[in-house]
């Protein structure tokens, strides 16, 4: 992958054209658009590096814990706890924890923090989804000779897709918001505009960050809704139709 350029600080010195940007949004955008595109792409990159990992971890965990009420309780409690850690603190923690591994700064802490954040919605929805598969359906599957694994993979998971996907959507939207802090640990992204904007009381910068993050979240939610619809088995969408 080619290195993603980060906006360098010298562009923002008082003698830079930035003086004009504060006054005139046109000039601001004209000057900053390459960095805005950069930020947007980096933001997306962080989120879409994290979520597939999170799905790969969370769905199997959800499947594994769902038959065991105690284990389920423990795992859901831990993941809820992880989610209550203030996101800013979690990013800070990542820097400290990953620092000795040489991963303290850059994409790694951001990606790992977002994976941790998105565990709960996906695990919880996987557990919920599996629990709402009718017991009669599972009994029938076992009764006609599906093995345990076949029952989960061929019957329970397909029936769980809509609910699991809702969890994934939740995680992505959450992740897009949390990824704003990524700029503080050197991962870039749209958070840069927000935090730098605050630092210099630059209205347009803050707006750039805020509006783009919101738009990204809304857009991602929409795309995932469509994906959810595509992945949902046809039989689940088939209502009672007149014959």
């Amino acid at each position: 992958m080619t290195a993603v350029p980060v906006i360098s600080y010298h562009r923002l010195r008082p003698d830079s054209p930035c003086r004009r940007c504060i006054i005139d949004p046109g000039t601001y955008l004209g000057y900053y658009w390459p960095s805005i595109i950069d930020g947007l792409l980096q933001h997306l990159l962080i989120v879409f590096l994290s979520i597939p990992f999170s799905i790969l971890v969370s769905v199997p965990i959800g499947i594994a814990i769902s038959p065991h009420p105690r284990l389920k309780h423990i795992v859901l409690t831990i993941t809820s706890f992880l989610m209550t850690i203030p996101s800013l603190a979690l990013f800070g923690l990542m820097v400290v924890v990953l620092g000795p591994l040489g991963l303290g700064i850059g994409k790694a802490p951001a990606v790992i923090a977002i994976i941790i954040y998105s565990l709960l919605p996906i695990i919880r929805n996987t557990v919920l989804a599996l629990a709402q598969v009718p017991s009669k359906t599972i009994e029938a599957a076992r009764g006609i000779g599906y093995t345990k694994a076949q029952t989960i993979l061929r019957i329970m998971l397909p029936l769980s897709i809509p609910v699991i996907m809702a969890g994934v959507r939740n995680s992505v939207v959450l992740g897009i918001g949390v990824a704003c802090y990524a700029s503080l640990v050197g991962s870039g992204g749209l958070g840069y505009f927000i935090f730098s904007g605050i630092g210099r009381a630059n209205f347009y910068m803050i707006c750039t960050g805020a509006i783009l993050v919101s738009a990204l979240a809304i857009g991602a939610n929409y795309v995932l809704l469509r994906l959810e619809d595509l992945l949902t088995p046809r039989g689940l969408k088939a209502g009672k139709k007149a014959k």
Binding site: K136, T137, A140, G143, Y146, G235, L236
Partner: protein, 374 residues
């Protein structure tokens, strides 16, 4: 042949099944009946090892079920349950094809088999591409039955399959069930809590109470001589009426007492035929012995009148149905027909009341008729 030998199953401190011993004969429909919690479903599920027995043994054709791999055992036994348990994300075809696919059948053989089964359960081939949510309860249950029969198992286990279906459709499914069983002659074990269903469908009935077998007998014998008060209460005070379900209208049809006229007969011929008959009626018989109507003398006198839609029942219909038809219409006789209205004879209300009042052997005590049959 399925043999239970002092089978016991406990769930925690509760004994679900207690020392159960009985033999289910090949090719028969055996109904397991009893109140909720009597262990009938547990008994059923121990056959395909969805539940493993704690004590005793179950064998199929002399081979212990415990010696089978449970998954392979279940694939070799049909299984149908209440609310069907159809897989909502798979279409009807794939639902029926589930077991053959697990068994690794070739796809063209599966297609052939699914088409055959849709025919058997009287569903149009176009249903193959529909999804379970698009089906009515009765249709879904037919698919459930087809799925259970897909790999042509010798044994079929059914757990209240028609329990969640409205009475009209349930009656239709009962007819279908009987006609299918007459064709395929599987060994069917059928759990129900509906005594009427048990009487209608069962070759034999096993009555369970609190995990023990109270009585195991042929349906007719069970109705005649309940082993104890519990069975008697289960059968209801109208068990003699229920026993009418077992008797076919065809065996009581008598055509000797009524006159017959062909279509196109003159009024005087008709009047003569009616007057000459013991029953005071004459059947209007069209080509192919098809019944077109009945001439009877009006009560106020005069020429015989034609009733072109008389009260009829199929000869395969049971006496209970005949009785309720007669009561509903306020008539004391009903015409028995076969196939497309081919005249067989007349069934009288008195034939039915003779059946009901014929002496039934008195209660023979709790031991009679229960336990392992000869």
């Amino acid at each position: 042949m399925i043999e239970f030998n002092s089978v016991t199953k406990r769930f925690g401190s509760r004994t679900a099944v207690n020392g159960l011993s009985f033999v289910i004969d090949e090719g028969t429909t055996t109904m397991l009946i009893g109140p909720s919690g009597c262990g009938k479903t547990t008994t059923l599920r121990m056959i395909n090892r969805l539940i493993d027995a704690d004590g005793g043994s179950i064998s199929i054709n002399g081979k212990m079920v415990s010696s089978f791999n449970p998954v392979r055992l279940r694939r070799s036994i049909g299984y149908a349950i209440q609310e069907t348990g159809l897989f909502p994300h798979l279409d009807v075809f794939s639902n029926i094809a589930a077991v053959p696919r697990l068994l690794g059948w070739k796809e063209d053989r599966i297609q052939e088999r699914v088409a055959e089964l849709l025919d058997l359960v009287t569903l149009d081939q176009s249903y193959a591409r529909m999804y379970p949510l698009q089906l009515s309860g009765g249709e879904a249950q037919r698919v459930g039955l087809a799925r259970a029969l897909a790999a042509n198992p010798d044994i079929l286990l059914m757990d209240e399959p028609f329990g969640a279906i409205d009475p009209i459709n349930r009656a239709k499914l009962h007819e279908l069930f009987i006609s299918i069983q007459n064709k395929i002659r599987k060994t069917i074990v059928f759990v129900t809590h509906d005594i009427n269903e048990a009487i209608k469908l069962g070759t034999k009935i096993a009555v369970l109470e609190a995990g023990s077998l109270v009585q195991y007998d042929n349906t007719a014998h069970l109705l005649e001589s309940p082993a104890n008060e519990f069975v008697e209460r289960l059968l209801g005070h109208d068990r003699k009426l229920k026993a009418l379900i077992l008797k076919r209208a065809g065996s009581y049809a008598d055509g000797s007492g009524c006159g017959r006229v062909a279509s196109g007969a003159s009024p005087s011929e008709i009047a003569r035929a009616v007057a000459a008959s013991d029953e005071g009626c004459a059947m209007l018989i069209g080509p192919g012995s098809v019944l077109r109507g009945v001439y009877t003398l009006p009560s106020e006198g005069g020429a015989p009148l034609l009733n072109s839609s008389p009260l009829t029942i199929q000869e395969s219909g049971d006496l209970q149905e005949a009785l309720s038809l007669m009561v509903a219409a306020g008539e004391s006789r009903i015409i028995v027909v076969s196939g497309q209205d081919v005249f067989r004879g007349i069934l009288h209300l008195s034939d039915i009341s003779n059946e009901i009042s014929s002496p039934i052997p008195k209660n023979l005590g709790p031991a009679a008729g229960s336990g392992v049959p000869a």
